[in-house]
Amino acid sequence: MSEAVPRLARRLAVLLALVLACGQATAQAQTAQEILAASDRIRNPHEPFRLTSSLVEFVGGKPRGQSVLFVYAKEDPTTHRFRNLVRYVEPPRDAGKMALLDNHVLWFYDPASKASVRISPQQRLIGQASIGDILTVNLAADYTGTLAGTETIQDAARQDKLCWHLDMAAATDLATYFRVEYWVEQKTSFPIKAKFYSDSGRLLKILYYRGFSEQLGVIRPTEAVIIDAVDTALVTTLKFSDYKFQEIPEAWFQRDYLPRLRAD
């Protein structure tokens, strides 16, 4: 018995090496960061753009309220992080509220009180703006990825997809999440699934990408399903529409511009 364990370990190591080698042979051509970057390019245009996002929150399987947001996004040429301006359309009680999400500079504006309130990155996770932010984040800018292996997992339509499995750690304090697990389809670089963790190791959100269609010249995911891992009865579906390239001046990314952000 005492001899069997080392022998088992040696045999297992050989077998594992063989199994992993199949995946790594292909991975040598692409590093984890390159896979991330390729997937980022699929998810978001490089040029400034705007879109409309519609969210439906499900509680216990039943739809409870819809939110609609206008999102303006622009990539910072230096940091390659996206900066967002968000204008609330629905629900009616939040209509006209706005948020500036620019790295650590986060402001929330309520036209009813005319008040601009500075919020923390953690508060960005409260409410729908957080979801818009998840989907325009450039993961390659904020996270350092390692290749955990190759896996065939099912996408949101329950179709098998051969994916890179990336394990990503926050590379800067600007990263919203401490750790992200990410699955990217090998053949297309399409993002398939992500899992977001807090610094305490708690799984916070599970995200599936779906609804791939051509938007602004590239086939992108236009829908997502987000499962609240803390309370799995909460599921949010999200649809992006009305993609448009739009000139977004740098001056827009400051607190005093928020009241001026028009809904055209």
């Binding site: 018995m1 069997a4 088992l8 045999r11 297992l12 077998l15 409309t52 929150e57 499900f58 399987g61 039943k62 739809p63 409870r64 309220g65 819809q66 206008f70 359309v89 629905e90 009616p92 009680r93 209509a95 006209g96 650590h104 500079v105 036209p111 009813a112 009180s113 005319k114 008040a115 601009s116 500075r118 919020i119 923390s120 990155p121 953690q122 508060q123 996770l125 409260i126 896996e151 065939t152 997992i153 949101a156 699934k193 599970i206 599936y208 399903v225 803390v230 009865a233 579906t237 649809k239 529409s241 001046p249 740098e250 001056a251 400051q254 607190r255 005093d256 511009y257 001026r260 809904a263």
Partner: protein
């Protein structure tokens, strides 16, 4: 046994390798069937929807009133109950490219225990804002009309919010966040330029009326009350910049009548969960007691040559107002704000002792109790704290216990006597259109304390809101 067990163990381990992917696929079981469909297409008039907020609210309030007082307040006792239905609208409407108009108003129908029904006191229109906005050059703006101009980064008290004075006409909620919503704008011309890295704003509000006495509890029905907002020439210059270290400072210069004040705002995020902020305003003026008595005499509420019921220095000196605090957000969607407020012109411990001594020495003498309570009413009208030192703690919990339930609570503590104002609010979002809520507040403290001496001890409000 070891040799027989080895292949079996190896088989189990090998089977475990693809099991990882199988486990991943179990996450798909968490997606409800109804979520298989994409959300409905966005309404084509979504842009118009985002430019307006209209709601109808019914609010029923009951008050518990104190029976005994250290210093009896003059006038009739406050109401026991109130039933109110109001229509609230804020609408932005584009007129042409770069030109738009904004309108904000609340129309109230009320019944109250101390107001005859029907009477003029049963209806009231709060005309909050109406202004034209024009962008003649890119990111250069001119606005003209009744504008609610707000400044400040703090949550419980904003020393740099210079246009807050006399603007609040409705105190359904005592939450400072709510008080900012239903207040009157000021007739002004506002210019603003926004550049990369900063902005500059200038506002001029002309004096169109003479200062008017404080309003009684029952306000006029259809009076825009410009006398509250435009009794002095007022100028505000405000500049902000985006500096390194994400400090986002804002500097303000404000002039009203003969008084000039400086102000500043600073905020910075620290880590993922915390925001630190500080707000300061300073200028030369008299104490709250002297300012209130001067205003009362000027507007005819107090006799012109009546002596002050409280000792104090009538001379002006440099007075500081400070709000410094931090917000902290948890993973459980709770946001806390903790602040310290310093209002140098407010009551010191000695002022409070003098206030109660003067009032209790002559409890039934209106010529004493009247000015004493006028000072406190004046502070409320100016939206200034009465005391010099106070602490403020606010908590907001989104999806508290169950989804769609939001709990908000705050406590405002007078650090001199430990008395406090406490308010708890629960809002349950039944749907996108309907909200039901309850709100309770209480003035806690001894009879000879700031909040314990107020006539209203506690209140409970129930509300139903329909958004359109």
């Amino acid at each position: 046994m070891a040799r027989r067990g080895l292949p079996a163990a190896l088989a189990v381990l090998l089977l475990a390798l693809p099991a990882a992917a199988a486990d991943e696929n179990r996450d798909l079981d968490l997606i409800p069937e109804a979520a298989g469909q994409a959300p409905e297409a966005v309404s084509p008039d979504a842009a118009a929807q985002s430019r307006q907020r209209i709601f109808l609210e019914n609010a029923t309030t009951g008050w518990s009133v104190r029976n005994s007082f250290a210093v009896p307040p003059p006038g009739p006792p406050p109401p026991d109950w109130q039933e109110r239905l109001f229509l609230d609208a804020r609408i932005e409407h584009p007129l042409a490219d770069g030109l738009g108009v904004t309108f904000s108003d609340r129309f109230n129908g009320m019944a109250e225990s101390d107001v005859p029904f029907p009477s003029h006191g049963d209806v009231r229109n709060d005309f909050r804002e109406s202004f034209l906005s024009w962008e003649p050059l890119t990111q250069n703006y001119l606005e003209l009309g009744r504008i609610n101009l707000k400044s400040g980064v703090a949550s419980g008290y904003n020393p740099t919010d210079f246009f807050k004075t006399r603007a609040v006409v409705d105190r359904i909620s005592q939450d400072p966040a709510s008080l900012r919503e239903n207040r009157l704008g000021t007739l002004m011309l506002l210019g603003q330029t926004i550049r990369e890295g900063g902005s500059l704003s200038m506002a001029f509000a002309p004096a169109l009326y003479r200062p008017s006495p404080l309003y009684p509890d029952v306000l006029p029905s259809f009076d825009p009350m410009f006398d509250r907002t435009n009794a002095h020439d007022r100028v505000l210059i405000k500049g902000s910049a985006s500096l390194p270290f994400d400090l986002d400072p804002e500097l303000l210069l404000y002039h009203e009548g003969t008084r000039t004040q400086l102000g500043g705002n600073l905020s910075r995020a620290v880590g993922q969960s915390t925001v630190l902020y500080a707000e300061w305003a300073g200028g030369e003026h008299a104490s709250l007691i002297q300012e209130a008595l001067t205003y009362g005499r000027q507007t005819g509420t107090l006799p012109t040559y009546a002596p002050s019921p409280l000792p104090g220095d009538p001379r002006a000196s440099f007075q500081n107002e400070i709000a410094v605090g931090a917000s902290y957000a948890t993973e459980n969607r709770i946001t806390f704000n903790l602040e310290y407020h310093y209002h140098e012109a407010g009551f010191s411990g000695r002022d409070w002792r003098n206030w109660f001594a003067a009032g209790t020495a002559n409890p039934n003498l209106l010529s004493v109790a009247g000015p004493l309570w006028f000072i406190r009413s004046y502070a409320l009208d100016q939206q200034e704290p009465v005391g010099r030192h106070s602490a403020f703690l606010r908590a907001d919990w989104v999806d508290a216990f169950i989804p769609q339930l939001e709990l908000t609570g705050f406590v405002d503590v007078d650090l001199h006597d430990g008395s406090c104002l406490v308010q708890l609010t629960a809002d349950y979002y039944l749907s996108n259109a309907w909200t039901v809520g309850a709100q309770a507040n209480a003035d806690l403290g001894g009879a000879r304390s700031e909040f314990g001496s107020l006539p209203q001890a506690a209140s409970l409000l129930l509300k139903l809101v329909r958004y359109f």
